[in-house]
């Protein structure tokens, strides 16, 4: 076991089984379906003193409670509202996480690999960079070896094993474990646990976005294919479409 704090990030995203329907009105997308809580890949229980934080709007407290019920010791809610919330992206979140990691004197930050709403796969890496800490991303196996961490990473070519110093950032892949259930007795106990609230300003973080959303559209409808009989036909068709 390792002594020291572990910070686990939790994000509230849309349920993967729900169909998202997009309606665009005045350049801003209006999502018709609301978000359902999904706690992504929390690894707990090997390490002591686990605390949690969720930057986001005020409806995330329930998500934090579920995470507390799954075994975290403390919850931290970084409240972001209004315009700042709309432009919240991986860069802003990493800044918050980095500031918190320093404030809490954490030894390990565990985050999800890639959220299903924005599909960015950036927060873990950015957080590590801001802290100048080593990173073990796409982890499917995490073992402590003294004061180092051995991480087996799921990469395109197969599995890569690396050993990194602590403090470090690890992002969790699906294969890391089977999440335990948040049982009702634990939910009841979690209702009594305190969730600390703070604002990004308290952490000295600037949330201005460097991105401007120009438009949001559904992907174009897939057109029916065209069958051709010979290679000559194919070449002619491609020329016709201006592709060659």
């Amino acid at each position: 076991t390792m002594s020291g704090r572990v910070i686990v990030g939790v994000k509230r995203v849309i349920d993967y089984a729900v169909k998202v329907i997009l309606f665009c009105c005045c350049n801003r997308p209006i999502y018709v379906l609301i978000f359902y809580p999904v706690v992504t890949h929390l690894t707990l229980c090997l390490l002591a003193n686990v605390s949690q934080l969720t930057p986001g709007d005020c409806c995330t407290r329930e998500t934090i409670r579920t995470a507390l019920a799954m075994g975290a010791d403390r919850g931290i809610h970084v409240e972001v509202t209004g315009k700042d919330y709309e432009t919240l992206g991986p860069l802003q979140i990493s800044k918050i996480l980095a500031a918190l990691a320093k404030k809490e004197d954490a030894q390990l930050v565990i985050l999800g690999k890639q959220a299903i709403d924005d599909d960015c796969n950036q927060t873990g890496q950015m957080t590590a960079a801001l802290l100048d800490w080593p990173q073990g991303t796409f982890a499917s196996e995490v073992t402590l070896e003294g004061d180092k961490i051995k991480v087996v990473r799921e990469i395109d070519g197969g599995l890569e094993t690396i050993k990194i110093n602590t403090p470090a950032v690890v992002t969790a892949d699906l294969r890391l474990n089977t999440p335990r259930y948040a049982t009702l007795p634990n939910i009841m106990k979690a209702k009594k646990k305190k969730i600390a609230s703070m604002k990004p300003a308290d952490l000295g973080v600037d949330l201005t976005s460097r991105l401007e959303v120009l438009s949001v559209e559904e992907p174009p409808q897939r057109q029916a294919g065209v069958k051709v009989e010979t290679v000559a036909d194919l070449v002619a068709k491609l020329k016709e479409l201006g592709r060659i």
Binding site: D15, Y36, Y181
Partner: protein, 601 residues
């Protein structure tokens, strides 16, 4: 499989030999044709693996598994976070605060979020909301659309006969609100939490617990972490027990625990069997030019024939966007096993009067749920030692009005008012450990709920009688005629613009369940579907399920069919439990959090 070219000569010879051996094994069986078909169940693997059918104390895979449950006590436990359950919880806390008494009220709900399993038209009669919260407007209750137009039609295949909505008719909607009931339920949940009710969405009540004297002790929530084959997984955890002085059961139409309670306490000995309908609903974003906010449309007639009860609704919401809620209701006492309520709904939408509203629009939601049709005569005994029934579970639906929310809420409130003095009394004078509160049934009999239901008690039963006199046919599951005596119905193919196929509709309901768990549609006998349902009725469950859960598929080997249960599709409508002619299907609650994800439906 593996390309043969990759193998050596010797390996190829081996594979060839193996193939011959394989073919020899599947030699034609020595059965007769009849034997082969009805024997198909012999070669099927078990369909039902749930512990309610195969008890775990006799199962060797469960030896040594820790089965103790964590126990907690509350004053009142409420099963079900719908309008009735939440109203009861809210009223209890309102009384507790008013009289400055401590009261622990716990509510368990199988949906992952309050409101996610709620589905209704809905044209809400606001009497109960106004009673519960006189300051409903300041509190932001989502009652945004007053009814402005009320239209009733009798449809034929191509035309529409208008029926004037004269004052005094039960169907008139003046003073009512078109609501997204899911949003109202969510709002009720927020009010309840503010008042101090402990809400636990995502936890289903799976078992009723009893004291030694036979009274209800409370409930136990579902176990988690059981694999599809019924064995324990690494993450197996027992549910917890919630004990209470009294338990309020508000599971909605045809609740699975209520089903057990009816048998256990013989609550239905002096009432008619409950009868039901299935309601299917869609939410559409339509062309703004066609949008008439506040407009309520109902119809009867086409596409149903004279002997099948049912009709449609179409409500124009007024919440900023051009949304309409529309749906179709089919009485589950229908006789033709070839009837497919989902496809009736889809083809109704093509009627010119309906299609003109939907053209150019976009479908954004789908769902289905069974509803009560029995009315006054089907109300069971409501109270028993340790518990009582509220809402659509016993069934207070005003059938001609097709409204049950206001009566469900009122029943919850009356239950709370009857229960409160007893649970907060210093000393309790009770014969049984669980409290018996017959005062609730008395209060209900003296309330407007009773008067309202009594006044309309003969309308639905008279549908089937030639002279329009009230007549009861008995339970819905007994009404199907054998398939050989009925004509299959030719349904039109969905056009993908106004009508749709079943599976894309199910996807829109957002339903999902943890895949690796025993199917919660349990069969008392795995052989009955093929030997009875399919043989006599041509498998009506593949037609009445609005989510495609039941499929008869050919066996992989030999002749015959087997039933495939796609439990993950289930939208918790309860129609199968109601309409199965063999009453072989027992719907039980899956792992909490599973089921549809309705958003304001």
């Amino acid at each position: 499989m593996f390309p043969a070219s990759r193998y050596s000569c010797q390996a190829r010879r081996c594979i060839r030999a193996l193939k011959i051996v394989q073919a020899e094994h599947i030699t034609p069986q020595l059965y007769t044709a009849l034997h082969r078909r009805t024997c198909s169940s012999v070669s099927t693997s078990r369909i039902t693996t749930h512990y309610t059918i195969h008890p775990r104390d006799k199962d060797p895979r469960w030896e040594g598994v820790e089965m103790d449950r964590f126990v907690d006590e509350a004053d009142v436990v409420i099963v079900g976070g719908g309008p009735a359950g939440l109203s009861a919880a809210i009223r209890l806390k309102q009384l507790a605060n008013k009289h400055e008494k401590e009261l622990r009220v716990c509510l368990v709900e199988k949906a992952s979020q309050i409101g996610a399993h709620t589905l209704s038209g809905a044209c809400l009669e606001p009497t109960a909301v106004f009673e519960l919260f006189p300051d409903w407007k300041e509190r932001g209750a989502p009652l945004n659309t007053s009814v402005t137009e009320d239209v009733f039609s009798i449809l034929t295949e191509t035309r529409r006969i208008p029926v004037p909505m004269l004052p005094g008719l039960p169907m008139r909607n003046h003073g009512n609100y078109i609501v997204k009931l899911g949003n109202v339920v969510r709002w009720l949940g927020e009010q309840a939490e503010e008042l101090g009710v402990e809400l636990y969405p995502g936890y289903a009540a799976a078992e009723v617990l009893f004291h030694d004297d036979g009274s209800v002790k409370g409930i136990a929530t579902n176990d988690v972490g059981i694999a599809k084959d019924g064995s324990p997984k690494d993450v197996f955890e027992r549910g917890m027990e919630l004990h209470a002085k009294i338990t309020l059961f508000g599971e909605g139409c045809h609740g699975h625990l209520a089903k057990q309670l009816y048998k256990h306490f013989n609550l239905r000995e002096n009432c008619e069997p409950q009868t039901y309908a299935i309601g299917l609903k869609e939410l559409w974003m339509i062309d703004e030019k066609k949008w008439r906010p506040g407009r309520v449309e109902h119809s009867v007639g086409w596409p149903l024939n004279r002997n099948t009860y049912g009709g449609s609704f179409l409500y124009h919401l007024n919440e900023g966007e051009p949304l309409v809620a529309l749906g179709f209701v089919v009485g589950l006492d229908y006789t033709n096993p070839y009837l497919n309520p989902f496809r009736e709904f889809q083809r109704w939408k093509h009627h010119p009067f309906v299609a003109r509203t939907l053209e150019g629009g976009h479908r954004i939601g789908y769902g289905a749920r069974a509803l009560n049709e029995g009315g006054f005569q089907s109300i069971p005994k409501l109270t028993f030692p340790g518990g009582l029934l509220i809402g659509c579970s016993p069934g207070f639906m005003n059938v001609p009005k097709i409204k049950g929310t206001h009566t469900a809420m009122k029943s919850g409130m009356l239950a709370a008012e009857a229960v409160f003095p007893k649970v907060t009394a210093e000393s309790v004078d009770s014969e049984t450990a669980g409290l018996h509160v017959p005062e609730y049934a008395e209060a209900l009999k003296n309330s407007w709920v009773w008067k309202e239901l009594y006044a309309v008690r003969n309308i639905r039963p008279s549908f089937h009688n030639y002279f329009g006199l009230g007549e009861y046919l008995g339970a819905d599951y007994n009404q199907l005629k054998p398939a050989k005596d009925c004509t299959p119905i030719e349904y039109p193919k969905p056009d993908g613009k106004i009508s749709f196929d079943l599976l894309s509709s199910v996807a829109l309901s957002g339903t999902n369940h943890e895949g690796d768990q025993p199917p919660h549609l349990t069969l008392k006998n795995d052989d009955v579907p093929v030997s009875r349902n399919l043989a006599i009725y041509d498998g009506p469950e593949q037609r009445f399920c609005p989510a495609g859960v039941y499929e008869y598929v050919p066996l992989e080997t030999g002749d015959g069919m087997r039933l495939q249960i796609n439990a993950q599709n289930c939208v918790h409508c309860k129609t199968c439990d109601i309409k199965d002619p063999s009453q072989n299907i027992n719907w039980v609650v899956p792992e909490g959090g599973g089921g549809p994800a309705y958003n304001g439906l």
